[in-house]
Assembly symmetry: C4
Homo-oligomer: 368 residues x 4
């Protein structure tokens, strides 16, 4: 950790977290209007974005009593990583929009909290910079498939060097959703794509705004084998919302399925992510683990997703807001708050372990 | 197109379209209060009008990934017309209420966008005036069945001369819905019915206000044969909301079924148009194509209607608002915006073609 | 009608009726606060009152087209009365709270409109006074069963003399619902019970406030036979919300079943009246006609209730508001407005007659 | 009752009760902000707290008529106690937060109203102080299982001396729910735990804030036998929301099952208490009686819970608010108001007795 001492994490401070949702308003005051709009917005009418969180209310956890539970243990394992809690800081582009420390702040905060982090291709810091902080802590790399195979290989090499546990292939964003806040704010994603700097193309400093221009639009199942074969790393497919796509991905070699609608930023009118999880989990049937994100704001949401079949739960925007408010300490505070809520919810559902949580009964069939 | 050069399209300008719904407020500022009320209102409590759009939220598109899609192709064919997109500017009476160019602005805008247009019997411009602009572009004529068979024949002759692809027989408006804005505004539909001018009845300049007085109230299935036989054109029945009526119309010779509740302007308390589409599509079972309108405001709405069985999707008021704001360029801008949203939605649902869109799975059965 | 000339109908004027719901606010300005509260309020949280009207939105009428309908005929017959429309001015206590003419204004207005009226035991005018105006027009008498059989016989005699078509036995109000507006307003129902004046008890001028004190609380099925036998008139049981009660009442001799929850004034937490109608209609199975009220505010509501099994549709508060605003002309205006809405709805559902309306299909089973 | 004369009940006054919900705002003015927040709040987003009451609207009571009911009798029996109504003042910690008289005010008010009361381990008054007022009236003691078995025995001895009808073992609160009002208000539960004073531990005056520190977190089914065996009293398990827990508790010797989600103060995201009642009642199948609480604010709610299988209905916060506003007279006024609403609802559902109420039909299956 000698390295860390020389690293500038920017302005770092302790923050109070009343709850995850309450961070949004506070972060809006410290992030620029255009940047905040870019982070916060969903696509079109934001139906899917809002529905992601609201739909958790349709899933009721049935509490259990007299189960002899004391100090529940929320530690778990994911692809060989020991985690203090089944939480993932979901990959987000350009974290310097929120805070000068960007991904290195995220890496430090999640490492301190003992949870998984994923870094985006479009990160503000290079893989190597982030890995220097992460330093063996649970880490994955999210790939927006480049058009340029040489650049792709460079990214995979860097990810392997960074001890990434897996490559997350982004499959739901072959183009960007229609997000109106950017148009209203006349906002174009600023900042360079750091990961291009190390690659010898002369494209150094290419703006993040051209991100889809640099990415391959037409993706297919063969990529799973191709990426896995080159990198030697497990390949996870992100953005799965249809049981058939989950099945196809597993048959094509995916090491995990990542259920997500990109936090409602892509296809508006898609179901809430939690609504598609049960059908996908039935199809996956424990062949590979399932990552889940989109709309998670409470410890009980984490339990609901686990009870409906997920193994690792991603949270996105709230970590950006925590980062904006307190640097890496803000990130850690968000994780610790969530762990506290998870602990209470485990105790009140009579769950000693995460395996117990996965057996919690959902009450949909208890109506009158 | 020499003709067009001599035509006065009124005030024409480029407009920004953030989304279709946002045009309403802007248009309200440039259209007279009474005229705007007439265009915007639904009947009674506007339950059906509001429900038309809201009900789309109950239909979830299931996104697909890794489908090898790049640059989806939304072109399609309808009754022999090549269309750049499965879109129809649904027939609306008296378009000069919105903009001085009326139907000739609509004709120009839709032609430029490569989509279908339909002209109402109660248009502000004659069929011939509109046809001069349309000039072979996809065009249909909507008939409010006149009491006077001579006048009906005159309209059919004009429509045939205008190269209409079909006659749309309006079946759901044998009288007008109860619309309160007109009463509150003390508004009576102004402007003459242009199509009466060319007909030698001495009724030239009859006000649009007398439109139902001039129309036949008691319609029946025999009209399909009668109109088709005289005109030699395909006859489409508009306003179908019951599977039995769809079946009857097809058996009586209809070339297509037009599912619509008139944008919620007729029977309030009728289901949302999208709610009746699946049952009608099952009954039609591909014997004839299906046109659908009422409540469409988003590209995803277009996909949902296609996925539930429609072939051509009508949009009404937003084209009037586009016309009001920018003349024919406003009409084109509305169409282009919708095409952009359709393109994104096709990409994100893994749809290369409109035929693929029709196979998108709706998620109603994926709930917990 | 010579009599009418000598009758004082109080202040009478033409009123505009935009729709039935809009009358409430206008009437609140001309009726005293306490009196208005008494008329308008529902019991407890007013859940059932509000749900009565809202639940109509869950019933969708399926429009029909090309049915050869012109000028629908909404005339009907009920217990031997020819009615211009299947409408009933539902019985309401103390109509002078709304307008000085009270029940004689109601009688005049409903007679002019050709619809049925029902007079309450707790009317502000005597049966004889009302009958002098009604004069053979469709009329029923609503009985709050008195404790005093002599008084009951007197009321039945008066009703028979008034040519009442039936006696409506109020069964759902053996005590009053808990209505908070009266407590907030410190309001006690004022005015005398006119029908006591003609009965030789020395109770002349007894306040309406003691109305439940004068009424029998413990009612049973034997009353139907007892009342019918004495009066020779058909007995209708009002306030039925359970299929079993409908069956019991018919087996005990009831001439009709009156489905109602008293406009949400009695048991809050009861279903919307329209929700219980289908099950009751299935049980009644055309053995006797069905009257329906509670929540009806639109012509389409009338059609929905008819389509779900009712034969005569009661409207309550809106007639009081019409009476308050225009005297008997206000009552007539409310009826005429509703007839206009019914006419449009019949045309748009392809219904030539009320019998056709009863066959309209409800769309509950057409959802995705 | 000689004792009572010497007791100081603090400020006592008659209060008007419009309805139970309306007491909240009034009480907020006389209770300190932090104290009020502690009493009023639910956990997390308060979804379950709000849903507890809202879900009653999904249960419709079907009124019955002509059932020969007069002056319904709501008296009932519970574990050998004659009650004027099937009501329980549910156990609440630290009642001096609301009013200086605390539990002795509650004991006096409930005794006057003839209903059951339950005292919390964390009461502001000792069991003996409360018993001196209760003096043989229906009374139960709610146990938060102490870590110290000696202290537990002391509490059980005191409860037996107080003639407690049963010990209610709190099973759903092995730690506190996450309640944000306390954090916002920086509020820590004040006041001592009176019941510690009489126990010779040197812990006299331990603050209620340490209440979970003093309680056993890991509870199991064996406690039922252990507590019953030592105390000789019936043991009731409180906080049951899963049919399996009900079954387990009965098999382990529980004398009754207490269905509750702690008024939405524990696991947010749990179902409304009324939603789980039917399934639990089916499982219990009359082997033991069922107590129900959470969300009850109306007489009709009491009837709904009884109709769905409960035997005794707890009400919590409204009694605290009544206590705050009028001391013991406020408590009695709340009970009397509820009895009045129950009386009306029984009459209007044709229920002569509580046994009749349990047979009321719920209308869920009467929808279209």
């Amino acid at each position: 950790m000698a390295l860390e001492k020389t690293v500038d994490f920017g302005k770092v401070q302790d923050i109070d977290v009343l709850n995850l949702s309450s961070l949004e308003k506070r972060a809006a005051k410290v992030i620029g209007k255009g940047e905040f709009g870019y982070i916060e917005e969903g696509s079109d009418d934001e139906y899917t974005k809002k529905h992601n969180t609201a739909a958790f209310n349709e899933v009721h956890l049935l509490p259990r009593v007299l189960q002899n539970v004391e100090e529940p243990d929320q530690s778990t394992e994911f692809l060989g990583n020991e985690l203090a809690s089944p939480l993932l800081a979901a990959p987000i582009a350009g974290n310097t929009l929120a805070h000068e420390s960007g991904e290195i702040g995220l890496a430090k905060g999640t490492k301190e909290a003992g949870i998984m982090m994923a870094q985006s291709t479009f990160a503000s810091k290079t893989i190597a910079e982030t890995a220097a902080i992460s330093d063996g802590a649970p880490y994955m790399f999210q790939l927006y498939m480049p058009k340029d195979w040489g650049y792709c290989k460079y990214l995979l090499d860097e990810a392997r060097n960074a001890q990434a546990s897996a490559i997350i292939l982004t499959a739901d964003s072959t183009l960007g959703g229609y997000r109106e806040a950017d148009i209203i704010n006349n906002y174009h994603l600023k900042g360079k794509i750091a990961n291009l700097d190390g690659y010898n193309t002369g494209k150094k400093g290419v703006g993040a705004g051209s991100l889809f221009a640099e990415s391959m639009q037409s993706l297919n199942l063969d990529l799973i084998e191709k990426l896995g074969s080159y990198s030697g790393l497990p390949i996870i497919v992100k953005g799965i919302q249809h049981p058939l796509d989950a099945d196809n991905a597993i048959k094509a070699g995916a090491a995990a399925v990542y259920v997500s609608n990109h936090g409602g930023r892509q296809l508006d009118g898609a179901p809430a992510s939690i609504e598609v999880l049960p059908a996908i989990a039935r199809t996956v049937d424990h062949r590979v683990p399932i990552i889940f994100d989109s709309g998670v704001r409470r410890g009980t949401h984490v339990l609901k997703a686990l009870a409906l079949g997920a193994d690792l739960i991603g949270v996105g925007r709230p970590f950006s807001y925590g980062l904006a408010l307190g640097g890496w300490k803000g990130v850690q505070a968000v994780a610790e708050h969530l762990k506290m809520e998870i602990n209470i919810a485990m105790q009140l559902t009579g769950s000693r372990t995460i395996e117990d949580v996965k057996k919690i009964q959902i009450s949909s069939d208890l109506k009158f």
